[in-house]
């Protein structure tokens, strides 16, 4: 199906609803008449949108617009309730719908706080914030997930609140992942909360649901590539680190210049899920599925609109927590959430989504991203570039000019990635044997000569090793004096 709807009109219609959402619960301080007018405007625009005036809009975007209308109406309905206003039209939402909104809204402090703000407040043992974390771990997250699965609630509201809750959770995870690594007292606290939550869950669960044999079976896995936890973390560090370096201040490639704004780093994974099951060292090694996001402002000459660049390290975190490795490439269900988020996050700007995987991508993913249907349906707003961090293979849609242009940034870096990996392995061999023979190393690990040479020369600078050509060995040799 071709989606040829009028996006500009759809955006124009949804604008009032978005303004109400941006205002949030403080809309209650607006005069009654103003709120009635907002309610009526949103209802009328919703009517127009739902009548199909805007044509066929991409499913994800359509879902987002429909949810935006209902969520804005819910915010207004709550304001009428709170102010004891007589406005019966707003009594269309159930108590459950109003309650979950109120409970999630308590966490809106995470909307405006940065990761650093949150960390500072936790370190200062801010009671309100710690209270929210405690509630989050002991019951809130589970309660929200369960409530949002309740089919009595409007699907549109479930969709919107799930998204909002996901955003807050991510901010919390970003901060918690750092805090549980750096502060023992916080790790102990989270550990206690998680224990309480697990005990409560255990009491609720029936014994017949338990099937320990299955867990054992899961450990014995085989797959096309073996990436263990430390390696995965290493790939994540490198990918995120060098992407951030690349995006420092400005970006220049193929004669094009961009100014970089709003560079941010976040983590998707919630490591506290594993705090009870794995060692402290493992927690520090589990990849966090970090991502870097930034606005690229181009020089006016060749492109007018800014581009959002989102570079994501994507891995199956649960596999690295237990059994400690992953062997399979990412499937569509691993990367689809990122594509849906990208569709929702883009407004007037185009997004270049770069997904990097240490285990590569399944054939199905590669076919889907490279396919004609994807080109027709998605490339209007989102460009996608997949990076296999081990082989260096880059995958884009052949029709996607933006992704092709930007591939260069990542393609250039692939060798550096390999050099970094080679350096790690060379160092290990150095510790073990006191010297590394170039030809042996290439033979054993399958690197190109240039990569190992780069690794040798980097280590020579960093660690005071010697690099020498030895005629008797017939190759270069790295050794310690």
């Amino acid at each position: 199906m071709i989606y040829d709807g009028n996006i500009d009109r759809a955006k124009e219609l949804v604008n009032v609803a978005k303004k109400v959402i941006n205002k949030g619960s403080s809309v209650r301080y607006e005069p009654f008449e103003k709120r009635v007018q907002l309610w009526n405007d949103i209802k009328q625009n919703q009517d127009i949108y739902e009548s199909g005036e805007c044509g066929r809009i991409l499913d994800d975007l359509d879902k987002h617009y429909r949810a935006t209308y209902d969520f804005a109406l819910l915010i207004l309905a709550r304001s009428f309730n709170e102010n004891d206003d007589e406005f019966p039209a707003s009594q269309v939402f159930s108590e459950g719908e109003l309650k979950i909104y109120e409970k999630i809204e308590k966490y809106d402090v995470f909307e405006i706080s940065t990761k650093e703000d949150i960390k500072k407040r936790v370190i200062a043992k801010d009671k309100n914030l710690l209270g929210l974390f405690e509630e989050y771990y002991i019951q809130m997250d589970k309660w929200v997930e369960e409530t949002l699965d309740n089919s009595d609630m409007r699907l549109t509201l479930r969709y919107y609140l799930k998204k909002k809750w996901g955003e807050y959770k991510q901010k919390m995870n970003d901060a918690v992942n750092d805090l549980i690594r750096d502060f023992d007292w916080f790790r102990v606290l989270v550990n206690e909360w998680v224990k309480i939550e697990k005990e409560t869950t255990k009491e609720d669960e029936k014994p017949e649901d338990e099937s320990p044999e299955q867990d054992e079976e899961e450990i014995i896995e085989d797959g096309p590539r073996f990436i263990e936890i430390g390696e995965a973390k290493f790939y994540e560090h490198n990918f995120i680190g060098r992407t951030k370096n690349k995006l420092h201040g400005k970006l220049e490639f193929s004669g094009k210049k961009f100014k970089i704004e709003d560079l941010q780093e976040h983590a998707e994974a919630d490591l506290s899920n594993y705090i009870n099951d794995v060692s402290e060292n493992t927690i520090k090694n589990i990849p966090e599925n970090k991502y870097v996001i930034a606005r690229l402002i181009p020089k006016k000459l060749f492109r007018k609109k800014p581009i959002i660049l989102k570079a994501v390290f994507c891995s199956r975190v649960e596999k690295y927590a237990k059994p400690g490795f992953d062997t399979y490439p990412l499937e569509l269900n691993d990367i689809n959430p990122y594509i849906s988020d990208a569709m929702n996050e883009t407004k007037d700007e185009r997004m270049l989504l770069c997904i990097a995987s240490p285990t590569g991508f399944s054939n199905e993913v590669q076919d889907h991203i490279g396919g004609k249907e994807f080109h027709q349906n998605f490339l209007g707003t989102v460009s996608i570039c997949l990076i296999d961090l081990v082989t260096g293979k880059l995958i884009t849609n052949p029709h996607d000019k933006t992704a092709k242009e930007f591939m260069e940034i990542f393609a250039l870096e692939i060798d550096e990635e390999k050099v970094a990996k080679a350096k790690k392995q060379v160092t290990e061999t150095m510790i073990e044997k006191g010297g590394v023979r170039l030809d042996d190393f290439i033979k054993k690990h399958g690197y190109k000569k240039q990569i190992v040479e780069n690794a040798f020369y980097d280590l020579k600078e960093e660690k005071d090793y010697k690099v020498e050509y030895r005629r008797d060995l017939g190759t270069q040799w790295l050794w310690k004096e």
């Binding site: 008449e33 009635v36 007018q37 009526n40 405007d41 009517d47 007589e86 406005f87």
Partner: protein, 173 residues
């Protein structure tokens, strides 16, 4: 004696019924019975058997069960409809904005758009009314037609309010 069966959609609507009972209880004998009210229809013998069955299951059933024969009654009430229209030299776009403002001022909620205009609903202390508003753009201005319908005093009450606002806005008295 009459039995009224009132359905309601929300808690707010239930409260409005309670307020109405309060307002009328000094004029009429009104009793809101406790317990369950059952409307029965069928052969008399079966009805007697059913009541007997119920009585056998309740303590002190003679105090708890009352049976009345009822017949349908159509009260003599009619929906009131007022239709007010205005002709103005103002453009349609401008009138649309004014109507939006006016509806917000009345606390009226947008319900839906029909082929000829927009439908709003307003709730006041005198009850609720439906407003059908249609605007016809002309070369030399706009025609505004507002139809107000509802039960009782609310129709005149809302009509007067709208009239007063429209006249002020259109510069008439």
């Amino acid at each position: 004696m009459f039995l009224l069966i009132l359905d309601y959609e929300s808690d707010a609507e239930r409260k409005r019924i309670d307020y109405a009972i309060e307002r009328w209880q000094h004029k009429l004998k009104i009793k809101k019975p406790k317990g369950t009210i059952i409307v029965l229809d069928g052969k008399q013998g079966l009805i007697d058997e059913f009541v007997e069955d119920l009585c056998s299951r309740l303590e002190k059933s003679e105090e708890k069960v009352q049976v009345h024969r009822i017949k349908s009654y159509m009260p003599e009430i009619e929906k009131n409809v007022n239709k007010i229209s205005y002709q103005t030299k103002e453009k349609k776009d401008y009138l649309e904005k004014f109507i939006k403002y006016l509806m917000a001022k009345l606390g009226a909620s947008y319900e839906y758009s029909s082929e000829i205009g927009k439908v709003y609903k307003v709730y006041t202390k005198k009850g609720q009314a439906k407003l059908d508003i249609s605007l016809q753009g002309k070369e030399d201005g706009t025609n505004v037609i507002i139809a107000i319908d509802g039960y009782g005093d609310v129709v005149d009450f809302i009509s007067d309010k709208i009239n007063s606002e429209m006249n002020t806005f259109l510069g008439e008295s």
